[in-house]
């Protein structure tokens, strides 16, 4: 049921002290929002009862409750969130802080988060703090002034922490897709499972000489994925660390081919790397996916789809991470006990054309 501003006059029947007064409020020019007291008056109950009726609290005849609800619906009543917040000491608001200036990771997370919370009437207060601690502190303070009930922190990539110390913040904090303190509630993609998914897919297609081209070894995600890759592909399978760029993907092919290693399946640590790899192979006259199958990571569709051929890649489900962050922060706010520590959400494989074949034999 959606709310529309009252464009007509509204009859308020106020019954007070036994005598019933009918008054009319003209709202041609400045439409006043319906207040709870208006609903109460129209339903001929007290404000207290109206509040309880609508919130499902308190005890009263089912008939009364229904009547209040019907009246509220008819009048298009929507509670004033400010008043509600002031009174209940809960703002029904969570803050989302990010340092991902491009939004590539953050926006899907924020979207999942806000969708997970909007049905509870919770909205998301967002701000982007570059890497300036002072500005970050100012944004955080503004959120705290606004009595946010919880905080979600996200970032541009795992391993780059925000310039903020949230240890003393008096509200629940959930870290999503960013570096988190040891004992915090945090959420990331399951890199190991994602890497296995990719590697299994390659070997399922009959690719036996696998290689992994990925980001810097300092990144936990890169290390975890590399380890999972070796679990499947064998301890001797080559793993090349570089940076997260196309240029590195390009260079890595030069290095592999220069060494005479000729993998027939390459799992890449990001779609950008994969794109560099595919381009380098094409330039060398190596056919993808004929000669070599490629799997990327991120499912950054703008890159994955523009690559020729379009990339088969691992999707981290950022939206899902956002939704789960919403669930967790809500649980924490409501006082539920949520075990601290990292949580990993499964990735899924998005199949496009860069691997050839169809499903692996095993199905």
């Amino acid at each position: 049921m959606s709310f529309h501003w009252p464009l007509t006059r509204i009859e308020k029947t106020v019954s007070h002290n036994g005598k019933s007064v009918s008054q009319e409020c003209a709202m041609a020019s400045a439409p006043t929002r319906i207040r709870l007291s208006d609903v109460a008056a129209a339903a001929e109950v007290s404000v207290a009862t109206a509040s309880k009726a609508l919130n499902g609290t308190g005890r009263m005849t089912e008939e009364t409750r229904r009547r209040v609800r019907d009246v509220a619906d008819a009048l298009g009543f929507r509670p004033n969130a400010m008043a509600r917040a002031l009174s209940s000491q809960r703002s029904l608001t969570v803050g989302l802080i990010t340092n991902d200036s491009y939004g590539r990771f953050t926006l899907p997370v924020m979207s999942g988060l806000s969708n997970a919370l909007v049905d509870d009437g919770i909205s998301v207060l967002m701000s982007n703090v570059e890497d300036d601690p002072v500005a970050a502190r100012r944004h955080l303070d503004t959120m705290l002034d606004r009595q946010v009930d919880g905080l979600v922190v996200t970032g541009r990539r795992i391993d780059t922490a925000l310039p903020l110390d949230l240890a003393e913040v008096p509200i629940p904090v959930v870290y999503a897709f960013t570096a988190a303190p040891e004992n915090a509630v945090s959420l990331t993609a399951d890199d190991a499972q994602g890497a296995r998914l990719a590697t299994d897919w390659l070997s399922g297609l009959g690719r036996g000489r696998l290689a992994h081209v990925t980001g810097p070894e300092e990144f936990a995600a890169a290390r975890i994925r590399a380890a999972a890759f070796r679990d499947v592909a064998g301890p001797g399978a080559p793993v090349l660390h570089g940076d997260w760029s196309e240029a590195w993907g390009h260079a890595a092919i030069g290095r592999l081919w220069g060494q005479g290693a000729r993998p027939d399946g390459i799992f890449c640590g990001s779609d950008q790397i994969a794109r560099g790899v595919v381009d380098a192979l094409r330039e060398r006259g190596v056919d993808v996916p004929g000669d070599v199958s490629i799997v990327g990571f991120d499912n950054w569709s703008i890159v994955a789809a523009a690559t020729r051929p379009p990339l088969t890649t691992v999707d981290m489900g950022l939206g899902g991470i956002g939704r789960e962050a919403g669930r967790l922060v809500r649980a924490l706010i409501e006082g539920g006990d949520v075990a601290p520590g990292p949580r990993r959400l499964p990735c899924r494989l998005v199949v496009r054309d860069s691997c050839g074949g169809s499903a692996p034999a095993a199905g």
Copy 2:
């Protein structure tokens, strides 16, 4: 001055009815925020005076005002935004609605917006409404419940409108970088100026046979840029409309070269198109920037920097658009008279390597 939670005990000196009572509130476990009444008590004035002192309203001795301010600082007082909102009927909050799921355009805008507003204590409530009108309505209603003072609407590209009718919304709306109703306050990049910048740059480098490869003609931005391009390059200069993709840039080169037209300067409607163009030229053995100079549009650094050679491109200043949107929405909220209609903010050229040469002769 940043706010830190009080970790020590706080002496409150309450003077009431002439007699002064000193009481102590222990806050070892649950730190209570300092309220205005605490400040007032400590400064030995009334709550009203304290409020006026801190807000710079009302009249009082400069000494009193300073004393209250000093006490507030010392106590680390931060006003409760909910109470303030309820009382003053202004939530000090603006909503940002987008339908840009990737965040490529939206996040810079939101960042500029929130930075423009944070110093006034205004924060940004954000939500991403895909293209579902029902969900969009729900998000909007939640924001209105929260009494947002204004709304900024942004999108993934000019010309795709949000599935929302904001005509009846009782608060100011500013459209930033998205399709807007005729008489609304809206903000976009100055496409004509940006296109002239690019084209001038190319001819300044001595390129005389210019072409323009851009997005669909249905997009106003594409039409405007094309017109500006022809203003500079001459009415006969070829303009090729396609979609906003790399593939189209690639294909466009095939078409141009197939026709025997051999431009020596190409202005592209997006960095993605430019990338396709550059790749296609390389594949044909045409040297960029030796034989042909390329200019892109968007300064999407992740694409522009990954292209070989890195793209010289037009930056639309999305952050600036966000900041200006903040200024405008604040002005509207404060009742200032802002002329309706579209506003265009200047673009700037970011010079990388895809044009060769250095600055044009004219400087």
